[in-house]
Symmetry: C2
């Protein structure tokens, strides 16, 4: 890792989430913060200081200046979703690798513009879905893929929610129709949808049907919603996402032989196999097993590390960008779009055409 | 309890489930097995012996004979669902209190015939939904009802499943169209639907929409299915029930302030409140609390005890039958019917008219 020089990140803007990813870049052994751009150079200077950016960090008064800096290899884009297409495309054109905050785009048409630009410029694209990069995710996948322990996937439900306070529900970019029009669906729902696709080896469902009666704010932005997904082989998935419920990150997956239960996308997960119940019901046997997977770095730093590894290979060895990340990002967006379309069509089923 | 004489049960038939409830009757301090009826007196004699019935148990060669026995106060009816309306009605007419195995009826029209007969004959009706009677259920309800800890219910998902082996999937009454035409919906789905209604204080949803693509056997009996329920206030529920997945009894309920998680309708449950996650994600805080509620008797015996208490009050003190039990049974059946109707209508939403 340390053989090649670290990937030099430029950060466009300083949304709240940028704070977390900045720290992750600082923690990752193969990445460094090189530049930050903001519309206000004063604010950016204060922000860089507050967040302990290296003293060598260049502070620019515009996003363009970051993209023009030849000492920036990659950009992290935490801007409001409505600005993603503009800035991610410009970044790719300037040959900067793109780590894009989710929701990545307002719809798949926009995302395709971004992905095509990244591809034609040979830069790596990755969405910032952090839990994918924790080693527990691979461990869980191992269980799900085990035909003896988990068997065939039959059903999965995911809840991803957190409780927005008054300040959040009035002023956060996630509830502003001009900034993040997808609201809770794009933010919390993104995680549930990704989790569901992940359990299905990214096989897209045939049909997506929104659950009735989502909640909206006055501007029409989704504050809570859900959907069911079906695959035509009896496999079903449901999810609920919300800014109006206590924080939850639930995955309950039923296989023909076992179950996976996750209630936190970071902490231990639980598996159980071959369950049965006695004649006088005192408990289902066997008890679920707890799996704690430890990691030396928090998952956001592992994400930066993985992204930087890919960027390093492209820079150092002339490797091609890894297609997995744009592919699963696009599939996630397709389901997001289908849920939105189903809501708009009065909860009619929407077929996904890939 | 021991002041009055125990409630004398007659058992109609000896389905597999009767074994469990027979033991429960034996364990309950206020109940006793008085008679068992079967179409074969030889089989019934052997069965009574095998299962340690009291030597005083009268063995009858017909169900009618049990109903005609004046020393029988109440009957437990574990017959196939298609026979419930006939035998529960006859039992009520003979002034026997009715503990009815679920699914209680093929549809609400049939159930209404049973309930009306029970009401007009002044006998207690209860469906055999055992987990309702465990003290942990009351403890969980306490949490759900706590506006400070759980807040307002936003979303609930329930999975109730078990894996039928080849013998079960070919020969069990639960997969026979002439015996238990509701299949997994009536059997496993009954629990999920009851659990969902229970979280909602038995307020019926406005709309029920079946999930697409249930699995059926060759006779058209449901082997797995699911549905979404909505209440017009943003509250949503989803469930999945199946004979084709590893045993699971999941309830994950999201409130505005807390979460309830159940993975076994008997063992400990988990609550968490006011959750938050740190800036570098290592875990959601606080950790969920485990609640183990102990009981002196298994839940099936507690069910018999509660039913027998009600019967004892009617017999001894001239009390009226408790209306809670027929009411929630009917509501559960209404949702079962709506799921079935939605499946038959190609997964269209079905409005529930109460």
């Amino acid at each position: 890792m340390a053989e090649s020089s670290p990937v030099r990140f430029g950060i466009l803007g300083f949304a709240n989430i940028a704070r977390k990813v900045s720290r992750a870049i600082a923690l990752a052994p193969n990445a460094t913060i090189s530049a930050v751009g903001s519309r206000s150079i004063e604010k950016a200077t204060a922000y860089a200081k507050e967040n302990g950016y290296p003293s060598t960090t260049k502070i620019y008064g515009s996003y363009e200046a970051v993209l023009d800096d030849p000492e920036v290899d990659a950009v992290y884009v935490p801007l409001p979703t409505s600005l993603h297409v503009k800035w991610a495309v410009l970044a790719a054109q300037k040959k900067k690798h793109v780590l894009l905050e989710k929701p990545v785009a307002l719809n798949v048409k926009e995302l395709d513009v971004i992905l095509e630009e990244c591809e034609s410029n040979g830069v790596q694209y990755m969405d910032a879905t952090m839990w994918m990069h924790h080693p527990r995710t691979a461990k869980m996948k191992e269980f799900l893929s085990d035909s003896q322990r988990f068997g065939q996937l039959k059903s999965v439900h995911s809840t991803f929610a957190y409780l927005g306070d008054t300040e959040f529900l009035e002023n956060n970019i996630r509830v502003k129709s001009d900034l993040d029009a997808l609201g809770a669906l794009g933010d919390a729902g993104w995680y549930s949808i990704r989790a569901i696709l992940w359990t299905s080896d990214y096989e897209l469902p045939k049909t997506v049907t929104a659950l009735r009666d989502p909640e909206f704010n006055e501007a029409g932005v989704i504050l809570s919603c859900g959907a069911s997904l079906s695959w035509k082989d009896g496999r079903v998935a449901t999810f609920y996402c919300s800014f109006l419920a206590n924080m939850a990150m639930d995955i309950v997956a039923s296989g023909s032989k076992g179950n996976l239960r996750v209630h936190d996308f970071v902490a231990p997960f639980y598996t159980v196999e071959g369950s049965w119940i006695g004649e006088l019901a005192t408990s289902i046997h066997p008890a679920p097993s707890e799996h704690q997977v430890n990691t030396d770095l928090p998952q956001e730093a592992l994400m930066v590390k993985e992204f930087s590894n890919l960027v390093g290979s492209i820079k150092g060895k002339g490797s091609k960008p890894e297609k997995k990340w744009p592919t699963i990002s696009r599939k996630t967006q397709l389901v997001v779009d289908a849920v939105k379309a189903s809501i708009e069509k009065g909860f009619e089923p929407v077929e996904i055409i890939y």
